[in-house]
Symmetry: C2
Subunit: 243 residues, 2 copies
C-alpha cells in the first residue's frame, strides 16, 4: 500500500465552482485509478486563471507520482490549460506539427476548415507526448508527470482509456463492504476494536439515512486478499444481528 | 465582483478518493454560494489524515473569507475532522456541555443510551459556535471562518440551511446561458470578440457532445443586470442561426 504510485486530479472549471455543472470526471477517474492500483490522494477544483493553474500544477506535480487535469483545452479564449501547464514546466509551447496533422485530417474528413480557433487545439508543449482522442480528435498531452485531458466527460473518458494502460500500477487496492442497519454511534466501538486488530487494513464507516433508517456502509480495504477476508469475517460475526 | 466574499470547500473523505462514493455536497453548496453572492474559488478533496486536514484548513482559512468542510464528524474512529480543525486554530477541544445536552435530549427521546462513541460527537472546540442539525441532532460548528459540517448529504444540506442565512453575501452573481449548436471551434472567434467588448462580464464556453451533435453552452456572468442583458443580446445576434 505504501509502494503504490500516488495521484492528484486537478479539475479546471469555473462552471463547476459556480454550481452550474456537476463534475463527473473526478468520480470516474477515481474508480479507474483504484482498479489500476494508483492511490488518489487529492482532488482540487480551481478557477480558469493562468497563474493559479500554473502554480497548482507545479505544486501537485512535485508531490505526487501523477497529476491528471480535466478541462480547458478547447478552442475558445477561456481554454488556457495547455499554456499554463507548459509554463509550470518552463517548456515552450506553440502549434505543433503532429497535433496539426491530426486536426487537419479530422476536419478534412468532415469537410470543415482548420480555422485559427481550431488550430489553438494544436498548441502542445515541446516536450509533451500526445494523448489520443478517439471522440473528437483534438489530442490531450502528457508533460512530465502531468496528463492534460479534456473536460467533456465522453472525451475525458476516452483519453483516460488511451492513457491508463501506459501507466504502471501496483497491487490493486481490494475492498469489501458490509451494510449495517444500526446508527453509526452503535457501530463505533466494536468497529474501533476490529480496526485496531488489523493495522494492515483500513476500515471506513460511511453513514447513511434512508427513509428515516440510520445505517452505515463499512468498507474494508487492503491489498492482501487473505487478510481482507479475515477482517471482513470478524466484522460479519460482530454485526451478525444487524448486517 | 471583486468585493464578493470568497470561499473554499474542503471535502474530507477517503471514500470519495477511492471512487466508491460520488460526492454530492460540492455541487449542492456551490449552487447555494453562487445564489448568496459568495464566490467559490476552490474545492479540495483530501484523505482522512489529521496532519493533512489540519494543514489544509490552516492554509485555506488564511486565503478565503469562508471555508466549508464536509465529512468526518461522526462517532467512529475515522471521524477526526473536529480535532484536526481545532488543532489548525490551536483551540482546545473536548466534550462540550451544550453539545452534550443536545445529544442527550435526542437519545432520550429515542430511548437510546448516550454511549462513549456517541459522546465523541459532542467534541467541539472551545471557541466554536454550534451549527444546528435538525436531521440527526449531532451539531456542526463554526470555528473562526471555518464551518464544519457532516458528510451525509441530507445532514450537510440541513446544516447549510442553518448556517447560510447568518453569513453576509454580496450582489449575487447573475448568469444567463445560450445553447449553441456549433462545434466550439466555430464559436471561438466571435465569442472572443464579444468577451473583449464586455470586460465586466465573464463568458464561459462549455462544450458538449450529444448523440454525435457538437455544441456548447455559453454562460455569461456578471453582477450588473443591464450589462448582462446587453452582452447576452449581442451573443444572440451573432449566433442567431445556431442558437
Amino acid at each position: 500500500m505504501t509502494d503504490a504510485p500516488t495521484a492528484a486530479i486537478l479539475i479546471i472549471g469555473d462552471e463547476i465552482l459556480s454550481g452550474r455543472t456537476r463534475d463527473a470526471n473526478m468520480h470516474y477517474l477515481a474508480g479507474q485509478l483504484t482498479e489500476k492500483g494508483i492511490k488518489l490522494c487529492e482532488v482540487r477544483v480551481i478557477m480558469d486563471e493562468h497563474e493559479r493553474i500554473k502554480d497548482t500544477v507545479a505544486k501537485l506535480s512535485k508531490t505526487y507520482t501523477h497529476v491528471f487535469t480535466s478541462g480547458g483545452i478547447g478552442p475558445t479564449h477561456d481554454d488556457i490549460t495547455a499554456d499554463a501547464v507548459a509554463a509550470a514546466f518552463d517548456d515552450p509551447i506553440d502549434i505543433r506539427d503532429d497535433a496539426r496533422e491530426i486536426l487537419k485530417a479530422h476536419y478534412e474528413k468532415s469537410g470543415s476548415e482548420l480555422t485559427a480557433a481550431r488550430l489553438r487545439m494544436a498548441r502542445i508543449p515541446d516536450s509533451a507526448s500526445l494523448i489520443e482522442n478517439p471522440v473528437s480528435s483534438a489530442p490531450g498531452f502528457t508533460l512530465g508527470n502531468v496528463h492534460v485531458m479534456a473536460g467533456v466527460p465522453s472525451v475525458f473518458q476516452a483519453m483516460v482509456a488511451s492513457l491508463l494502460p501506459q501507466l504502471t500500477g501496483s497491487a490493486p487496492m481490494l475492498s469489501e463492504s458490509l451494510r449495517i442497519i444500526l446508527p453509526e454511534s452503535e457501530i463505533a466501538e466494536p468497529l474501533g476494536v476490529i480496526a485496531a486488530k488489523y493495522p494492515e487494513l483500513s476500515f471506513g464507516s460511511y453513514p447513511f439515512i434512508t427513509n428515516g433508517v440510520f445505517g452505515a456502509n463499512i468498507v474494508v480495504r487492503g491489498t492482501d486478499p487473505v487478510m481482507l477476508a479475515k477482517g471482513v469475517s470478524d466484522l460479519r460475526e460482530i454485526f451478525a444481528d444487524s448486517a
